[in-house]
Symmetry: D2
Subunit: 346 residues, 4 copies
């Protein structure tokens, strides 16, 4: 049994890790940290997790935790994660970091977008970007995996095959994303009060969202060129789910069927990517609670544009499910363990 600790277990991604891992046969949760809730039972905050009846939150005491666990899921806020990740990595622990702290390879880019310096360049260099569809081999050998952001996960899976097969002109990419409200985290800001979000619909962080450089970094890695994208997130009145609608000009004539074929080839062995048939488009409700990414594709011949729609559950494939997938790969477990349950529909 792998001993696993979760650092930052009082937010939604922490709770989601606990939910998913209840059915993982190879994993034992030995510690869950939360500073403000230290001493409280997990079920005091999350009554639905009564499977962990006897487990309580504890403070993040790194040395003590080292004796308790061999793999760490870090679900701390950005910037707060750096110190502990570095510590655990140096202690030869396996780490999956759900924060943004080790996603951006260039510490200057990190500092520019997150407004804090990066203190651990050596550790940063060891970090692998944890999108299995792109980096499975590297993840398998990694000690530190930087779990991707929710928006980049859906966007990159949508764009990657089109770039790989040179269907689209990278300078024309528009990513219009719509996210459920759990993406904001479990917080008490009045702008996320029920009555403010419900029956509302708005864009936010236009051109400034911190997931932008993460998407651009990976697109640059794929193409070998510097790429900038238009990325606009929107807040939608539902709990879970991100739908990204991606637009890019075709570089050459292509039929929808041909593009779908290329996508299916690219993802033929992927356990969690489903390319829909021509004429079908995905709905976040069909991936709710699951680690799947569904992708619908069409060529608009009138405008010579490829339009790709992808859906994920932001808390699963966009966070905790992908983290478990990464753990499975890192530890040599079957990749789908604990991630096979169908969507909760309706």
């Amino acid at each position: 049994m792998l001993k696993v600790a979760i650092c930052g277990g009082s937010g939604y991604t922490g709770a989601e890790l606990l939910r998913i891992l209840t059915v993982h046969p190879e994993v034992e949760i030995t510690a869950v940290t939360a500073e403000k809730s230290a001493g409280k039972k997990i079920t005091d905050i999350f009554p639905h997790l009564h499977h962990y009846g006897s487990l309580s939150y504890e403070p993040l005491d790194r040395e003590k935790l080292c004796s308790k666990a061999d793999l760490f899921f870090m679900a701390l806020p950005h910037a707060a994660s750096q110190d502990s990740v570095d510590f655990f990595v140096r202690e030869k622990k396996k780490v999956v970091d759900l924060s943004a702290d080790f996603r951006l390879r260039d510490p200057k880019v990190y500092e520019e977008w997150y407004r804090v310096p990066h203190k651990y360049n050596a550790t940063l260099k060891k970090s692998i970007y944890g999108l299995p569809e792109l980096y499975r081999k590297e993840i398998a050998r990694a000690d530190l995996v930087a779990n991707p952001g929710c928006y980049p996960t859906g966007a990159l899976i949508a764009i990657y095959p089109a770039l790989k097969h040179s269907f689209i002109d990278p300078v024309t990419i528009v990513i219009d994303s719509k996210s459920g409200t759990s993406g904001a985290g479990r917080q008490s800001d009045v702008s996320f009060f029920y009555c403010e979000v419900n029956e509302g619909l708005k864009a936010y962080g236009i051109g400034k969202h911190r997931h932008t450089p993460e998407i651009e970094q990976e697109l640059a890695a794929l193409t070998g060129k510097s790429i900038v994208v238009n990325f606009t997130p929107h807040l939608i009145p539902l709990d879970r789910g991100i739908l990204s609608t991606v637009y890019a000009k075709l570089m050459r004539r292509a039929e929808t069927t041909e593009v779908i074929e290329a996508y299916r080839d690219t993802y033929a062995k992927e356990p969690f990517v489903r390319i829909l048939d021509e004429g079908s488009f995905p709905n976040v409700k069909h991936v709710r609670g699951t680690n799947f990414c569904e992708v619908g594709i069409t060529v608009n011949t009138r405008t010579s544009t490829l339009i790709i729609v992808s859906t994920i559950d932001n808390l699963v494939k966009g966070a905790s499910g992908q983290a478990v997938q990464n753990m499975n790969i890192m530890m040599g477990f079957e990749e789908r363990v604990a991630l096979k349950i169908p969507a909760l529909f309706p």
Copy 2:
């Protein structure tokens, strides 16, 4: 008092006309038609309209209606509207048609997208596209106003000043729209069952939605060139509201402030368009139940892209409110009569 009839009063746009007109001091509703509900009281279908306690639905008997009313709101389905509109126009009645039947100036385009022939070319030629921000003068003189579609209303208000001031390259326009569910009409299709829509999120009609040629027609009229756009609608789990996010490449360098200034100039005298301050973006919840269109603007300098976000209530500015605005203009009433009430928030 102007005698007004509503043809097709058992759907949401019909009900919304009735709701708005309760506070119109110059209007008397003399007839409301609905074939299947003929004989029923309006309050049998819409209990919230008890202000019309004694009014019942009647069948659409054109000749009888001619003796009852001088202005007709046509809220019939597409194709079903043609015959009656032509009849009332020839009878010298004023008509505001909320269907799509008289919006597209070219009957071939109509036939291509709506799959039915247009039978009344002479009447079609008299029709004015009822977007007051573009055609107020023509509307004032018109006998037949084709009330715009909900998506085109929000999209055109968002795009018009940018084209007028030559900020953007028309061939790069992407319109990503998100609509509340009342846009689907009051219908019993299982795909609009509560549990199918709630907690769901999907794109539909990608590249094929019938509002596409309507948008393109007006952009062509503005620029004098044939323009094709990428337009993708999405279904959102809320009752009312359309948010459109528009992307287009800048033709020249421009600051956000300069663009906002140009928008404010363009719409300086418009009673129902509000251009937000730099850094502010609109939320459909702030226009709910109102005839306002709110517009937020930003220039993404990294990608040389102008991004415009507009919001409307699809049943008001996107349908019945705009119809009343058009009536006010046609009849010489103050344009804002019956349309001044603030949004219902929260």
Copy 3:
């Protein structure tokens, strides 16, 4: 024009007063207070209230306010309202207090349920409970009206005629109420975060809710006897609306039609109470945004129980609309002014 000030204008009831009063022809808003937001524009907090473009929040400076307004709406939290209400009343101003501070006639009962002493017994004695259906005459002569709580409003309108006509046994009353989330106020508690409320459903404050003594006080006043009731509120994932389902054992055989007749007699002259036909039951969606209370009634002959269902919009008839209705009565305005607009449906 009546000069009106709103003390506590940054919450939902304050905003709702502003929304309703935009169409009131006899009223001029001269001041709106909010401590934390003092200096900010009203539209900074509530963009939908752009009708008050130039108005800003100011601190609650009682003496300064006295020179600005003749009628005060107090939308402060409980306990915080006492001092200012007493001050304005002594300054011969008219006051409608939306807090609970002057609703309970017995200061001991107030202290028991609200855990603070009542400091102004003399002013308390002058206060009239502002349910026009019970106290219209007294309200017309009052200087201080204590606007009822949202739950008591719907419950008392539902119960009053049954008690008046001695249909029911007062010791058997069960009031099961369901409220939209705006009833919690505009707050940042994590338990009202969108994702916590949405797709959730729970009871709260069972047997302990502070509206209980208010209901009991008025039932005692009606019957001349001490009455205790079971009152259970529930939190529902919607913005606005309270539906109360009331159960009480019949004291004598009665047909549904007979009870409906008695209710219609009782409320024959009430402008905002609608008694539905036999077999019809109300839906909060049909009173949304309005000052109406709708009531459906049935006798369950199998259990000898009278079941009454009432609906209100908690922010309108349950708060700000009723406050305006009370102002209209106090000032001799037509009672329905500014309160005639139909529900926003859907």
Copy 4:
């Protein structure tokens, strides 16, 4: 491997059976019927069930099905289930019937409430009411289990211990239930259109709902006396979940702790019932997607009333999960197999 067929697999309860059974190690789905969708793939109707990629709907051909399966889940509408249930039982198959056809022991009561005659009295006599908390032993030996209605499941679990321990007076029971919209089935009635349900709240079938005699039958069986109850269901704008608030007068003084103790004794060995601590009350969101029933209890000493709040997921413990639980008991499988997954929260 147990061969299992699902008759009526195009509704929500059929889909939910398929969802739950994906993780059941002892079960193989060999046939799923649906008349209108015969020939279509299951994933054509329910894309989230792609685990059954190759399975298609077939017509309900009883003889053919007999050769395919040994246990039948019947998810047909009421009345439509009778013939097939009787057939499969006579063919010595095991049957779990999710319809109401074999729940009411007295065929006259069935006929009175369902307005159709019962044709199979001999088979009806063999039927066991499938609430494991009451009838586990009988279920283990049964060939035909009548799976309880969703409302009765939550109500009976809430009431049973209070009656068993003689805390409450049975003639005073009020059951006020609130249900998510999936309880209406997957249907196309316009009254369940998204915009009609969303932001709405209403009671329905007051005193007439068909689950009333089912509740009364079981309460009579428990007490040996004829009992009538007030049962009122309400429609709530959420997908899943029933919360029932039960009120009954105490027969004797009792403290909340004492009642909780009695409930915990009664359900000590129940794997799916959780009695909450004093002061805690359940939320449907914490049982979403699970087979749990959570119960909160309080004594209102002011009114001498016991108030019990229970929550279930109407599609799981209220339908398909309980059906699987019953199958597990009937077949000698561990009772919790396939039913251990935590709630999907948020």
